[in-house]
Symmetry: C2
Amino acid sequence: MPATRKALRPRTRTEKVHAALRRAILEQRLDPGVRLPEDMIGESFGTSRTIAREALGRLAVEGLVELIPNRGAFVANPSLDEGREIFVVRKGLERMVVLQLAARMTPEIARTLQSLVENEAILASRSEAEAIRLAGEFHLRLAALTGNSLLLRYVTEVVSRCSLVLAMYGRPHSADCAVNEHLLLVAALTAGDGDRAAGLMDEHLDSVAGRALIGQRPNGDIQSVLASFANRSDLA
Amino acid sequence: MPATRKALRPRTRTEKVHAALRRAILEQRLDPGVRLPEDMIGESFGTSRTIAREALGRLAVEGLVELIPNRGAFVANPSLDEGREIFVVRKGLERMVVLQLAARMTPEIARTLQSLVENEAILASRSEAEAIRLAGEFHLRLAALTGNSLLLRYVTEVVSRCSLVLAMYGRPHSADCAVNEHLLLVAALTAGDGDRAAGLMDEHLDSVAGRALIGQRPNGDIQSVLASFANRSDLA
DNA sequence: TGCCGTGAAATTGCATGCAATCGGATCGGC
DNA sequence: GCCGATCCGATTGCATGCAATTTCACGGCA
């Protein structure tokens, strides 16, 4: 029974708020630089400040939130230079992913990859938020397939922050990934050609990052945004 | 005004305990798997459980502590497989470091590197804890010199966790770095030969990881260990 | 008008308190 | 003697309260 390993741990409120806030930031529902008062977050999720405070502290460790003592918490607001740094790291990490993957390619993984790109083409264009989420999803799946949990964690983080950077400095839709590029990549991977895959991945990421230019659009008030995320993370 | 810099942000107690605990774990003063009760930590640092709790939550995000809901916090206890995963990621990250560094080599950086290895040879063997700290220090400095703060953060994390892994599965002193290997590396770097440096770094890390074998030794009670760290992090 | 104290409101940092949950000891049944 | 149910102490999860700090508006003064 390889089904449920250790999955169903009792999640604490802190974990839920942490996860919900992360989603909200990564889906660009909370603009970079926006202030995140503890009171308001607690109120939005129906908890006390304590919970909000802990969640913010953890998000700060992840680099998604900036915590300034006695001043408050803010959605991370990376400079363009920091954005570039993040992309550099991402490229390095994703290179590891494809190399690892190509090295330990199996028919089963190959099949999984195939179905991945197929589904991607189908789900491609639904909602804006969905598109953003989907853009990173492929890369996350790839990382997950390496079986290296730390690598997955890091890739998750950089993919997240890259979409944040693109939200700030890219034009609209620049966070989207070209499906055909993914297709080429999968072809190289299933062929076990790690070097070629690494090259393709590099190009792919360059093409994503290359779209960085402008784009600015503020969101409405924070509370209404968080309300929708609070619903999703309702305790059963 | 007397040059009281405001650059020094006021550190919160949470941050201090967070940092102190991290040091304690990374210097192997707290053995992997050891339980970390909130009460005891708070007491050790002269704060309430609230602070200890927040610090533990943040350490969990960093992967240095495992947090089990309703059960408590434990010093991370990576399996041998997880240890290998961490080393894989570390090698990839440090490859980025040397490539970046070789690419943007300047006379000043070269000088810094030189003095780094020289000091290293001098300080090499003082105390056990110092040796452990020093082992990672060189790699951290390298990462810092890239100017990429995210890369630095990740390298910091993996170096930390690698020393933890070595504490568990390596023989004593296996966390130490060979100074002469560092010397060769610096030579390649200052020559701007990124590929060669990358190769050397790979070998270097393999030689460190290769020493993984056995080794087991529990530390005394937690409180006495934490006491020394509490002193260091006293608020001035 | 512009600048700089001054004070009040807002917000954070932290401690404490209480209910919920877990682990282990005890005890009874087989 | 071994195993499972039951209770109790220990510890966590979370909310609330209070002091400290920051922010911001106001008003005096040049």
